[in-house]
Symmetry: C2
Subunit: 173 residues, 2 copies
């Protein structure tokens, strides 16, 4: 028991120090926080499935939206606005016909995710991202973040989904 | 500590009794196991995302394939054949245009899961389902299993995907 208590105290102390060191908002150099993510959140491929989506036209995309535990709980319970700590990821792939499925079906009807195109994130932190409705946006293609000009287009578009806290995706039951 | 040990012993005893009572294969009445599931596996909506799929034509379906932990690990590692304990679920929904997304995009391009149509399962148990390649198939619409005639069509079709152990779905990275 003694060891376990010590471990808890040590963890709490380290967490406390980290909180003291990290700036409450904005960057350590006094510049405002960027409104977009520069790094891919870890572990996203293990998150739970919120819904799938297909975009026809030029995007020609097929993919899925996953959420971390905070996100998944909020989606399932229909909780709005999304709580701080929510992270949503949209995994996009080229929408391609499946030759092997179509062979079995005997007709061209089956479409599956082809090569990955990009990964997009929404991170809820009402303090850090106050200027963009509490959401930080991320876009990564080949592991590289979208440039500033591109990233500035996220918020004005998502702002149109005010009724669902700037999130387009609905939970598929 | 004493209480905890007692709890563990109690759990182990109950589990042991359950194992003794359950028939090793087949049914208690001596009839062969049905090749299809009569009950929906619990907790499937919390499983991890393997891939999405869109079927055009008469099916007009949009959905996702999820897997339990055994399934997800095998898919991610490309392990074949799938180990016993693998459970895969395909969640199917009507493929419907999203009026609210299209309004934002300014064109009709966005498709999302509409009303659920059915849920299909594949359960790997090489002993219980030896007659159908080690897989038990399940199909549920409105919570009710597909009838015997319908369920007999699963295996002959999936058998065509022998190279991937009867599974059509590939892991989306």
């Amino acid at each position: 028991m003694k060891h376990f208590t010590f471990f808890l105290v040590a963890v709490a102390t380290i967490a406390g120090l980290a909180a003291l060191i990290a700036p409450a908002s904005g960057r350590a150099d006094g510049q405002p926080s960027p409104i977009f993510l520069s790094e891919i959140p870890q572990g996203y491929r293990d998150w739970k499935w919120i819904s799938s989506a297909h975009e026809a036209g030029n995007l020609n995309s097929l993919g899925a939206v996953l959420g971390n535990d905070v996100a998944f709980k909020a989606f399932r319970e229909g909780k709005l606005p999304y709580p701080d700590g929510t992270i949503i990821v949209a995994l996009h792939y080229r929408n391609v016909p499946s030759a092997e499925n179509n062979k079995v079906f005997g007709q061209a009807q089956s479409f599956v995710p082809g090569p990955p195109t990009n990964i997009q994130f929404m991170v809820k932190d009402s303090n850090k991202y106050a200027a963009t409705g509490g959401w930080g946006f991320g876009h990564f293609a080949d592991g590289k973040p979208g440039d500033a000009a591109f990233m500035k287009t996220c918020f004005p578009c998502h702002e149109k989904a005010k009724a669902s806290d700037l999130v387009f995706t609905h939970y598929a039951p």
